[in-house]
């Protein structure tokens, strides 16, 4: 900003320096924009070259597969309710995976967050360690752990649950510790002064302050985890994703099943999104008033 203590220059001086400043900014902005466009274009070309089919060829065929599936499903529309009923248990398994892993992740994430926040940690010296742990947990994509565990335990919901829970613990650990930073430490000190143990201090001093935010983040995580558990099913971890892969592997003739699964998955995601969005809205607004 302009230096107020200096003698004010003439209007034209100020004007000149302003114009110069904006021009310089514009040049920088232009260079950045060109660089950005070039990067995007180069990236697109590389991706296009390394892909099996090219963008221009595939673009016209985007809707071929959906129309094929929907067309066949439409012909057998009478079977659809039966299919939906048939795949409902798989859907429930997918939701169970997401819910259980979210719950486990919330508990683990709470501990990670409390142990890695200054002023709340049980062992202040180990704060960096717990931060790194949650960083690493967060960085591991679910599929890595899921595939390794599938090798050890065989296919099924448990590998997916463990994999998602670990990632959730890391992600929530970070978010929760950000929430913790904003919490007041006075209740903790007060409880400390009357001789409360660490667990009591956290349970009575911290959790009531951060509870609504925790729940809000946990709900958001639940939305994400439903998608994740569907994807992990696709690589062999049970649930609706597994059924989807099977019915897709059958190809034509079983597209009505694939369509039923698409529908189930779509509506589940939309419904969960709506409910959790509504709840989160209420939580944040409730906290504000």
């Amino acid at each position: 900003m302009a230096d107020l203590s200096a003698a004010p220059g003439s209007v034209s001086e100020i004007r000149d320096s302003y114009v110069e400043l904006t021009q310089r900014r514009r040049v920088y902005g232009g260079i950045l924009l060109v660089l950005f466009v070039a990067l995007m274009a180069a990236g697109f070309r590389t991706a296009d070259n390394r892909n099996a089919g090219s963008f221009s060829d595939g673009f016209n065929r985007i809707f071929d597969y959906p129309t094929e599936v929907l067309g066949e499903a439409w012909e057998k529309v009478g079977l659809l309710p039966g299919h939906i009923l048939h795949f409902l248990p798989a859907l429930i398994e997918t939701i169970n995976i997401a819910a259980a892993s979210t719950l486990i992740g919330v508990v683990a994430g709470t501990f990670l967050a409390l142990l890695s926040t200054r002023g709340m940690a049980l062992w202040p010296r180990l704060i960096p360690l717990f931060r790194r742990i949650s960083d690493v947990f967060r960085a591991i994509p679910e599929i890595v752990i899921a595939l390794v565990l599938i090798f050890l335990l065989g296919g099924g919901p448990v590998p997916a649950m463990i994999a998602i829970a670990i990632h959730t613990a890391g992600a929530l650990g970070k978010l929760f510790s950000e929430v913790n930073e904003n919490a007041s430490l006075k209740p903790v000190e007060g409880l400390h002064s009357v001789g409360a143990s660490w667990a009591q201090r956290m349970l009575l001093g911290v959790i009531p302050q951060v509870g609504p935010n925790y729940v809000s983040y946990a709900l958001l995580r639940f939305e994400i985890n439903i998608r994740a558990s569907a994807i992990l099913g696709f690589v062999g971890a049970g649930g609706i994703g597994y059924e989807l892969r099977n019915s897709m592997a059958w190809g034509q003739g079983r597209y009505d099943e694939a369509a039923a699964i698409f529908l189930l998955l779509f509506f589940t995601i939309v419904v969960v999104d709506q409910i959790s969005g509504h709840l989160r809205d209420r939580l944040t607004h409730g906290a504000r008033t």
Binding site: F36, D64, V136, R138, P141, V144, V148, G156, I224, D273
Partner: protein, 456 residues
């Protein structure tokens, strides 16, 4: 709450307080109880007790031991008595004909020194294994009569497995298997084998100092080439795979941002007067978001085939919905006064948007884009595993072979490093860019609270 009303008696107040406490207690104990109940249900629904029977300790042992150690196979073909040495038993790691590591002495009788007194001899007819503290194990493979094993007197210990056609001896020094057609010795070593150079490279087994001096005298390109084209670890392919994964995340996220920004204007109450169009736009965003990345990946890979482009497009399509929603919410919260101020200077509509609206939503926009860039790096790994591109594909391939666990460990380390690096980079960029806007330090915090849609 009700304390203010004057005519409530003390008793009544006390009762009320007690009731409140009771309710709170019920809530505080009821909720955890519900959670525990649910987890118990899941525990049995997922058949966790039955999991122990499914757990295969052999697999676990191979996985763990293979990820930090490797074995060298010394194999004798029992039909023509020829002996070959190969790391991990792979052709890519085979020693050239007539060559062997120093602990194997080739000859009429091949002597394999497993150290600590363990010696295996591949004789012209008979295989011998001298186990210190136990005695000499002899086995003669024969095409017709199977494997004839001669063990020292006494009970057969459980580390020796004898049957008519097979002898297997497992000690801490190594492992010997003799079948009709071949005899094989495994010796285990720590570390990842041939990580830098394969056996056919002249630089295999050289120290760092010698390599550095050779590199200084003009062999740097050759050394790098041998490393880069290492057949065992395929450094070149791995680097490309990581690049592909990052490319998917980059193209997908930024492409989605570019498409979603103009569309988001159409979905806001304050910029889009036509109600039906607004409504359609919002439903479109919801639809695209609801059809999960999984389904988009499946659909798009039918059209574009496997590869990074498909992954990028799947991310792009899904995130267009997400960004459309976030951006339109941010646009609905913009301050109208700033726009009016710009308008009062005689700005045209385009200028009004450019100087009145965009600066207000830039912090939200940038921080969301960067958050998603980081989280999409992870998604791209997963999508890559499904659609066949990037490091996700390499990882699944390595896991499917069920023996290259050292490669799996390597890829996992790379993936974690990649994601952490992206996390750090996007955080750094976010801080720089958003703090760079003078006086807006507080903004991202306030906006992120108003919009709990922030992804970790």
């Amino acid at each position: 709450m009700t304390v203010l009303s004057t005519n409530t008696g003390l008793e009544e107040l006390k009762q009320e307080a007690e009731l409140l406490f009771q309710r709170k207690r019920l809530f505080n104990f009821g909720l955890p109880a519900l959670v525990v109940l649910y987890l118990t249900y899941v525990f049995f629904a997922f058949d966790v007790p039955g999991l122990w029977s499914k757990l295969s300790p052999d697999n676990a042992y191979t996985l763990v031991s293979d990820s930090y150690s490797y074995k060298t196979h010394v194999t004798r073909d029992n039909r023509d008595a020829s002996v070959s040495v190969a790391i991990e038993g792979e052709r890519k790691g085979a020693y050239p004909e007539g060559e062997a590591p120093s602990w194997v002495t080739l000859g009429e009788t091949t002597v394999i020194d497993l150290e600590n007194g363990h010696v295996v001899r591949f004789g012209p007819e008979t295989i011998e294994y001298d186990v210190p503290g136990y005695g000499l194990i002899r086995a003669t493979p024969d095409r017709r009569r199977g494997v004839q094993a001669e063990l020292p007197a006494g009970e057969v210990p459980d580390w020796i497995n004898v049957s008519k056609n097979r002898l297997a001896v497992t000690t801490e020094a190594g492992r010997l298997t003799v079948t009709r057609s071949r005899s094989e010795v495994f010796r285990y070593f720590m570390g990842w084998e041939l990580f830098f150079f394969t056996l056919d490279s002249p630089y295999h087994g050289m120290g760092v100092g010698e390599l550095a001096s050779r590199a200084a005298t003009g062999e740097a390109a050759a050394i790098f080439n041998d490393f880069w084209t290492n057949k065992m670890w395929r450094h070149q392919d791995v680097a490309w795979a990581i690049l592909e994964t990052l490319l998917m995340a980059f193209l997908g996220t930024l492409g989605a941002g570019l498409i979603a920004l103009p569309l988001a204007f159409l979905a806001t109450r304050n910029f889009m007067p036509i109600r039906t169009l607004r409504f359609t736009m919002r439903r479109l965003f919801d639809f695209v978001r609801g059809v999960d990345a999984l389904i988009w990946t499946v659909v798009l890979s039918r059209a574009f085939g496997p590869g990074p482009l498909t992954g990028a497009l799947a991310i792009l399509v899904t995130d267009t919905g997400t960004f459309g929603k976030i951006f339109s919410e941010a646009l609905e919260n913009v301050d109208q006064k700033q726009i009016e101020g710009v308008q009062s200077t005689g700005a045209r509509p385009i200028q009004r948007y450019r100087f009145g609206v965009i600066p207000q939503i830039t912090p939200v926009l940038l921080s969301q884009l960067l958050y998603f860039l980081e989280s999409n790096t992870r998604s791209a790994t997963i999508i890559g595993a499904i659609t066949g591109g990037g490091i996700g594909l390499l990882l699944t391939q390595a896991i499917i072979t069920q023996k290259d666990w050292e490669e799996v460990a390597y890829y996992i380390v790379l993936i974690i490093l990649m994601v952490m690096l992206m996390d750090w980079f996007s955080g750094w960029l976010r801080r720089r860019l958003i703090k760079g806007d003078e006086g807006k330090k507080k903004k991202p915090k306030g906006t992120s609270k108003a919009k709990p849609f922030v992804l970790p």
